[in-house]
Subunit: 113 residues, 2 copies
């Protein structure tokens, strides 16, 4: 890609954001974490349809990207809590923008059909 061009493939910020958001369930996860810490199981319960493997993987990615924090307690039974980082909380803004737009969109779809 970009073979012999002088455009240095500058990474558009939006793409960075999209890569972070990308993943079927990530925004859903963020949504539920927006105002409180949740345990692994609690998240899973709130998102019916997600499998453990996928949930774990998306949580790991979000953690890697600095969107949320994972705290494991050395207890029996084990306890792991997830919460949003400050920058993660700010992503809710995007969620809301999406939501506002989606409502408008669905509204006009109704009219179209």
């Amino acid at each position: 890609m970009n073979i012999q061009t002088n455009k240095p493939e500058k990474v558009c910020p939006v793409e960075v954001a999209l890569n972070i958001i990308d993943g079927k369930w990530k925004l859903r996860i963020l949504y539920f974490l927006q105002d409180r810490t949740l345990r692994y199981n609690e998240i899973q319960e709130k998102i019916p349809g997600i499998t453990q493997k996928v949930l774990t993987s998306q949580l790991r990615q979000l953690e890697k990207d600095g969107i949320l924090t994972r705290r494991a307690y050395a207890e029996i039974p084990p306890r792991v809590e997830y919460s949003l980082t400050p920058i993660g909380k700010k992503l809710i803004t995007v969620y809301k923008a999406l939501n506002v737009w989606a409502l408008e969109y669905l509204d006009q779809e109704l009219v179209r059909n």
Copy 2:
């Protein structure tokens, strides 16, 4: 999914929006179309790295979802123009929200590293 539950798999608006936005290049395309109509080739030039198949496919999806309009002129050489629909233009809001967040995010990443 949701076998024998009473939750009727309500489609979260945000998911609708995500499905529409989803696709590596869609927001980029929207971005370039935000204030003017563009021809196929013009879009392709503005987005280095995208292949024709993918560009065509993403344009078709956006058209199907009512985000943009395709106008083909029966001329030689052929001319095809793309422009945003009203609801498509409103998606720019989301783009901007993403962008604002992404800038903040990249900023703090710099601090972290």
